[in-house]
């Protein structure tokens, strides 16, 4: 076994990097603050554009790291520069001297209750994209009616919103909304499904095809206007107000349930690590890379590397690619290349 490498975060980035670093012969330590591996992807049901089951994807990834030392339910307590590497103390009492550290701490889902005007936590039938995926994974959810007749999706909840403190686009919500809209329409063919969007940002492979399917095959209604407020009628329906900006008139519609597409925000739980390792935070709140074109995975500090959504909003394929790149970069760094 060669040098020690510590990976912070057991989501798809951490799993993919752990697999590759282990194959390259490094003694790899993967720490995950939760009791399960897989991060946000593990709570999702299916991934676009292949509608692949996340269960199968995560299972495969976890199987690939059988021989890697994994600390679950564990956090980094302290990290300090020492002897050409980093001395790291974990909350489970283990101390490791690592030659390199990979930060793969990912993102946090925007707290939808912060946009109080949408009534998450106040009205009975308002849920988030994550709640819907959990429900599709088999979790019970009282907020989802047995046979909804009208379902709304609000794009950009906490994204592209200076008032919510996030000016960035979360990249995946447009596509997720269309995916979830189709999935709901498949379950409830008689329901009318509305997507309230500001701009549809469908940039990835086969994304536009999903959009076409949603329009042509599923008759999903797209309303170009950001929802500004939601109220509840006496009979328990949700009244949604938006402006139809394409015809320039205010619009309202009664719905049985509303799904808020909560965006990605920077993970604040790594603040102590950032301070101790003297890492830089970018203007968008995410970790600052050496540059955002050819050195996204480099922190600017010797021996510390980044992968995935800790440096900004990313899709799963982007994250996996970055994780592999980071593993190779760590190998190059340790080999003195």
């Amino acid at each position: 076994m060669k040098e020690n490498v510590v990976i912070i975060g057991g989501g798809v980035a951490g799993l993919e990097a752990a697999k590759n670093l282990h194959r390259l012969g490094y003694q790899t330590f993967l720490v995950e603050k939760n009791k399960k591996l897989g991060g946000h992807v593990a709570i999702w049901h299916k991934l676009f554009p292949d509608m692949a089951s996340t269960k199968a994807i995560i299972k495969e990834m976890v199987d690939d790291i059988k021989d890697v030392t994994v600390f679950l339910d564990t956090q980094v307590k302290t990290i300090e520069s020492a002897y050409g590497g980093y001395q790291i103390a974990f909350s489970n009492g283990v101390n490791v001297h690592a030659k390199a550290v990979l930060v793969a701490s990912g993102f946090e889902l925007f707290e939808a209750a912060k946009k109080e005007e949408y009534g998450y936590g106040i009205y009975d039938h308002v849920i988030t994209n994550a709640d819907l995926e959990a429900w599709m994974n088999g979790n019970k959810d009282q907020r989802i009616p047995a046979a909804p007749k009208a379902i709304g999706f609000v794009h950009c909840v906490g994204s592209r919103d200076l008032k919510a403190g996030n000016s960035q686009c979360s990249k995946v919500c447009c596509m997720t909304a269309i995916k979830q809209a189709i999935e709901m329409k498949e379950r409830f063919p008689n329901a009318e499904v509305y997507c309230f969007y500001m701009d549809l940002r469908l940039f990835g492979k086969k994304y536009e095809d999903f959009y076409i399917n949603a329009q042509r095959d599923f008759g999903i209604h797209f309303v170009r206007g950001r929802v500004s407020e939601v109220s509840e009628t006496i009979d328990g329906h949700l009244q949604v107000k938006a402006e139809d900006t394409l015809i320039g008139r205010p619009l309202k519609v009664q719905l049985d349930m509303l799904v808020l597409m909560a965006g990605m925000v920077a993970n604040n739980q790594i603040k102590p690590i950032v301070e101790q390792a003297k890492l830089e935070i970018d203007s968008d709140g995410f970790l600052k890379s050496s540059d955002n074109i050819t050195h996204i995975i480099e922190s600017g500090r010797d021996g510390i590397f980044y992968a995935g959504a800790c440096t900004g909003t990313k899709t799963v394929p982007e994250t996996v690619a970055e994780a592999r790149a980071a593993a190779l970069a760590i190998h190059d760094y340790i080999s003195g290349l």
Binding site: E117, C156, R160, D161, L162, K163, A164, M198, D199, R224, G225, R226, V227, S228, E229, K241, A242, E243, D244, T245, G248, R249, P250, L251
Partner: protein, 105 residues
């Protein structure tokens, strides 16, 4: 004039070369955040009087950039400030309206 038996209606094309930009230019000098609108429609959706008069700060802002008359909308504004609250770009919509109410003659 020779009568051809039909009349030509006014062109409905917005000719950006011919539109008078001076009012918009004056506005952005007074309210620099006016430039930040991304047409999301939050203001018009939340507006207290949009239901009655179709008011929308977004429409006012794009109206003056496209040479439309927006006075009727401006006349209906009660300055309640809900649009300022919901604007995701932090545009100072009340100041924008107050200044536009002064810029018309």
């Amino acid at each position: 004039m020779i009568d051809f038996g039909f009349t030509l209606s006014k062109s409905s094309t917005v000719d950006l070369n011919k539109i008078d930009h001076s009012r918009y230019d004056q506005l952005v000098k007074l309210v620099p955040t006016a430039r930040m609108c991304m047409n999301c429609g939050s203001c018009g959706a939340t507006c207290t009087v949009s239901e009655y008069k179709g008011m929308s700060v977004r429409k006012v802002l794009y109206g003056i950039q496209r040479g439309e008359d927006v006075k009727a909308m401006l006349s209906s504004c009660m300055l309640c400030g809900k649009c300022t609250m919901v604007c995701p770009r932090g545009i100072n919509t009340r100041n924008l309206i107050l200044n536009l109410c002064k810029l018309y003659d």
